[in-house]
């Protein structure tokens, strides 16, 4: 039976599919047939179709092949066959970008375009415009104008759409056709109306007054094309946003009245467009919103999947801006959770989770768990992400959410899915101290039966970090040691490291740990054995300061920067030894929260890189930058101008051990000017020295260009926080706004005042995050360290949280042990934080805060450099 069926299939294919196994060269050979007289239309159509099919399948023609084919095709203009002629037009359009000398067919096409045959004309216009360049446009301009107002709607549409294409390269010429487009707007044909509106808007879009007039006129005359009405709604919205109409004036605005009236249009397309537009407007209130939301609610229960999708997508998008209004649709959204279309279902869940109230969390979770088993991994990941967001919103609900997550963890699922759950649990543990114990035990349970090595390793690492500080550290040891017995070498190695952490941090357990580690010395794997021996040796030494450096706080350098520093070292003077402390430590990268309705996307996520690594790559192109050593810190950009001025400048400060590189990103917003030799002149405070100024040779309109100034810090650290005056200096040349060519070679010097720049203490400090601050703090009580202490009264802040935020901002330090969060209702708080000063001095800060009338603070700084200690204590005040 099977073989019989296959035979039949083969037979079918053999007869019908002439497009299978086409060979480019042989098909191109066949174009010789085009030269036959008289032309055989049937044969030629088939050959042309084959060529177009090949191109469509992704076959590349080189210029020579395309040109030959193109010229062969021109012969076919002799035939009167309609289909053949139309295929030739398609061929022309397809080949026009590859073949040379395509303008040869201009006259043939012009003839068809102005001829009598209505079946040729529209397609001929479009083909002609695809081969027309600016120089030839003058010649066809007259015809184009005529065609735009032609009484045949197809001709008019083709001319309008082609004009829009041409407008991108020859805007000036097309502008002259506005009158014709205006006339076409009055046509009875709906597509002509639509295209005419599109072209007119494109021509006038930079002139707000003209657009406003156009819209006002059209909103009064009712347009018939639903597409045109949708377009009009978008234009009206844009005007409303640009004019920034206030909430009170909104109901009286003619634009808004028009959009609102569209909610009662007969086409669903227009109704949706209007509802979508209204809920996305900036200045709205409940009264103007409610009709739009009712429409969306109605669509939620539509028969058509597309309508439901559209409604839920819109609700999802505005869930954050109008939570109250979206909540009214909750009932309908809950109905969509089980929708057959998974995109709809997922959007519904995430919307519900976004708007869910604290009280409804339990109910929602129950609903999700009822169907979570049925959906694919990709959608589960989206659900987990939404739950993660919910956890940060309602930290008190952690038990419900944690139980739900651990339930999901137990079920079958791929690596990506499991990773997202583990990520979420880890985030909860990090953000919420109360959830820590239960989270860790869920994870322990998970690694008992975990097939994913990468996850097991991560969890073991986390256990090593957090476990020793839990209420009963000993209970985790069993879970960890089980891994040593049962798992692959990679997991075993991670488990050994985790065990050592317990040994270092819990003196009570050290004897047990030593026994376990000595057993690991028999391990068959080298790495596991080595680690066991290493840790055993350190732990047996009984020196807590060694524990700190080699077990608890093993600092990690930024790998890319370490590589760079090592390469530089190898290329330089090898007589000095390499100093690892000048390599910046890995900074904490904050991952941006994707707020998008990012559904299933297979695009790989960009790897996380720190700002420092990014700027290191960029700065490495500057001459002489290598002598400054590796980069210590890069600040976020600061605007030095108002956003709507002629020139905008923003500054990024790159801090090195003894230097600052100021990077100025400049933008010229004047189309009729070109700036040359652009540089920033700084008023240097005492002690600082300018080392180099790297100007930007040329700053054309609307291009972001960069100029740099390199300044050396004063040797005295105490005076390193300072303010710089800044002036932008440049040579202005007037230029033609269209071409960007300067009118003459003579320019004039000009200067432009910028806002002052500051180098603060925080700029010079890179945050670090200590997982075990107390151990580090205690160890920093030796002779190398200096301690400075001072008491302040912070009168400007009224709450402890404000005080904590202010301190972290001024000092640029990273808080440890979640001490950046002040519990509600307390009157005292201890903030502990740490960082590295440029040059490598470590800074530890403990600040005890008490709330009385203002906030009183006792600040203790421990650091290896006395000057730094002084600077830090003086930074607050």
């Amino acid at each position: 039976m099977g073989s019989f069926r296959r035979d039949k299939d083969d037979e079918d294919e053999g007869i019908t599919n002439i497009y299978q196994n086409l060979e480019k060269t042989s098909v191109l050979q066949e174009t010789r047939t085009f030269n036959d007289t008289p032309v055989n239309p049937r044969k030629c159509i088939q050959i042309l179709t084959k060529i177009l099919y090949l191109i469509n399948q992704g076959e590349q023609l080189v210029a020579r092949e395309a040109t030959d084919c193109f010229f062969a095709m021109t012969k076919l203009f002799q035939s009167k066959d309609v289909v053949l002629r139309r295929m030739v037009y398609l061929g022309i359009k397809e080949l026009s970008s590859i073949a040379e000398d395509v303008i040869i067919v201009t006259s043939s096409l012009t003839k068809d375009m102005t001829g009598k045959e209505d079946l040729y004309r529209p397609a001929a216009i479009r083909a002609l415009c695809s081969i027309t360049d600016n120089t030839m446009l003058q010649a066809v301009e007259r015809y184009m104008k005529q065609c735009i107002v032609d009484k045949n709607p197809a001709v008019s549409c083709a001319a309008l759409v082609s004009s829009l294409r041409l407008a991108s390269t020859a805007g000036d010429v097309v502008k002259r056709w506005a009158n014709e487009a205006q006339e076409a707007l009055n046509s009875d044909n709906i597509m002509v109306q639509y295209h005419a509106l599109g072209l007119l808007y494109h021509i006038r879009k930079s002139d707000r007054l003209a657009v406003s007039k156009l819209v006002n006129k059209l909103t009064r005359s009712s347009m018939k094309s639903p597409y045109a009405v949708c377009m009009l709604i978008r234009i009206a919205c844009k005007l409303i946003e640009e004019e920034d109409i206030s909430t009170e004036d909104m109901p009286n605005s003619p634009m808004f009245t028009f959009i609102e009236s569209c909610l009662r249009h007969k086409s669903e397309m227009v109704i949706y467009e209007a509802a979508h537009a209204i809920v996305n407007l900036k200045n709205t209130n409940a009264r103007v919103l409610s009709p739009a939301f009712s429409i969306l609610q109605l669509f939620c229960s539509s028969q058509k999947a597309t309508l439901r999708f559209a409604a839920v997508r819109t609700l999802n998008k505005v869930a954050m801006t109008h939570p109250a209004a979206v909540t009214t649709c909750n009932l309908d959204l809950e109905g969509l959770i089980t929708d057959t279309n998974r995109s709809v279902a997922t959007l519904a869940i995430t919307t519900l989770l976004k708007t869910g109230a604290e009280s409804s969390v339990e109910r929602l979770m129950k609903q999700i768990s009822s169907f979570v088993a049925e959906i694919s991994d990709e959608f589960k990941v989206v659900v987990v992400q939404a739950i993660c967001a919910l956890c940060s919103k309602y930290p008190r609900k952690h038990t419900v959410l944690m139980n739900f997550l651990s339930g999901m963890l137990r079920e079958e699922g791929g690596l990506e899915y499991k990773t997202s759950i583990v990520d979420t649990i880890i985030t909860i543990i990090e953000e919420n101290a109360e959830a820590k114990e239960s989270g860790l035990s869920h994870l322990c349970e998970f690694i008992e039966d975990c097939e994913h090595v990468s996850l097991a390793v991560r969890i073991l690492h986390l256990l090593g970090k957090e476990g020793p500080f839990a209420n009963t550290p000993s209970k985790y040891i069993r879970f960890i040691y089980n891994r040593v017995i049962l798992e692959s070498p990679i997991v075993r190695a991670a488990a050994v490291t985790a065990l050592a952490q317990f040994g270092a941090s819990c003196p009570a357990l050290i004897n047990n740990i030593l026994v376990l580690l000595s057993r690991c010395q028999m391990d068959p794997d080298d790495e596991v054995r080595d680690r066991a021996t290493y840790y055993l040796h350190i732990l047996q030494s009984n020196k807590p300061e060694l524990y700190k450096h080699y077990i608890i706080e093993r600092e990690t350098c930024s790998l890319t920067l370490l590589e760079k520093a090592l390469t530089e070292h190898l290329n330089g003077d090898l007589s000095t030894s390499f100093d690892i402390s000048i390599v910046p430590k890995t900074a904490i990268v904050k991952e941006e929260v994707a707020n998008e309705a990012m559904l299933i996307s297979n695009t790989p996520r960009a790897p996380k890189i720190t700002r420092e690594e990014e700027s290191a790559a960029r700065l490495s192109q500057l001459p002489g930058i290598q002598v400054l050593g590796p980069i210590h810190r890069t600040t976020t950009p600061i605007q030095l101008t108002e956003s709507e001025t002629e020139y905008t400048v923003q500054c990024i400060k790159h801090i090195f051990a003894n230097h600052i590189v100021f990077q100025f990103d400049c933008l010229n917003t004047l189309p009729d000017q070109i700036l040359e030799n652009v540089r920033v002149e700084l008023t240097i405070p005492e002690g600082f020295t300018t080392r180099a100024v790297i100007p930007c040779p040329k700053l054309p309109y609307n291009e972001l260009q960069t100029t740099f100034v390199i300044v050396e810090f004063p040797p005295d650290i105490a005076s390193s926080a300072a303010t710089f005056g800044a002036t932008l200096r440049f040579v202005v040349k007037d230029c033609d706004p269209n071409t960007g060519e300067p009118d003459s070679d003579n320019g004039y010097e000009e200067e432009y005042m910028l806002e002052d720049l500051e180098i603060t203490v925080a700029d010079q400090i890179q945050k670090t995050k200590k997982s075990n601050f107390q151990a580090v703090w205690d160890a920093a009580d030796t002779e190398e360290w200096v301690e400075a202490e001072d008491t302040y009264s912070l009168s400007a802040v009224s709450t402890l949280q404000d005080a904590v935020n202010t301190i972290l901002k001024f000092l640029g330090l990273g808080a440890a042990n979640l001490s950046e969060k002040v519990a509600e209702g307390t009157h005292t708080h201890t903030l502990i934080c740490s960082g590295t000063f440029r040059g490598g001095a470590e800074i530890l800060v403990r600040s005890k805060l008490a709330l009385s009338d203002g906030v009183t603070m006792q600040l203790t700084v421990r650091t290896t450099d006395p000057d730094v200690a002084e600077l830090v204590t003086s930074a607050i005040g």
Partner: protein
Amino acid sequence: MEGFMMEPTLNIIKGMCIMDNDGNRILAKYYDKNVLPTVKEQKAFEKNLFSKTHRSNTEIIMLDGLTCVYKSNVDLFFYVMGSAYENELILLSVLNCLYDSINLILKKIVEKRMVLDNLEIIMLAFDEICDGGVILDADPSSVVKRVDLRNDDIPIAEQTVAQVLQSAREQFKWSILK
């Protein structure tokens, strides 16, 4: 807030595509230089799109930042793609136009074999529905009027053997079905 306000433009369609039931491209057109610029990316996208849509006939999916509406029939899949912020109903109207036009052209036998037999007319229909991303016409009857220009009775002398066989087969099939 990228895409928060949709820029009013006629360029709405990002792509149209017809695939067979193995996920192979029969015809595909992409209209935005910034969206899937190379054939390699296009094919990867199509493969992904097909794998996500061929089993569930649920009309719409969001994939790699594109909203795709689709429809399938016997051994063919029709797709219309637009930006993730686009009005889905506009895309759907274009998809319906594409499908209905082809349905009319192929006289209600929408199958891969028929599409390949009439590929030149289907190509013309693509061209008449969308020009570089602009919806040129969304009314199937007017599209068909402009592209289906063949005269039906081909002189027997000009028919290929395959075509003769084909029409004989059709007739035979119908006589059995009766």
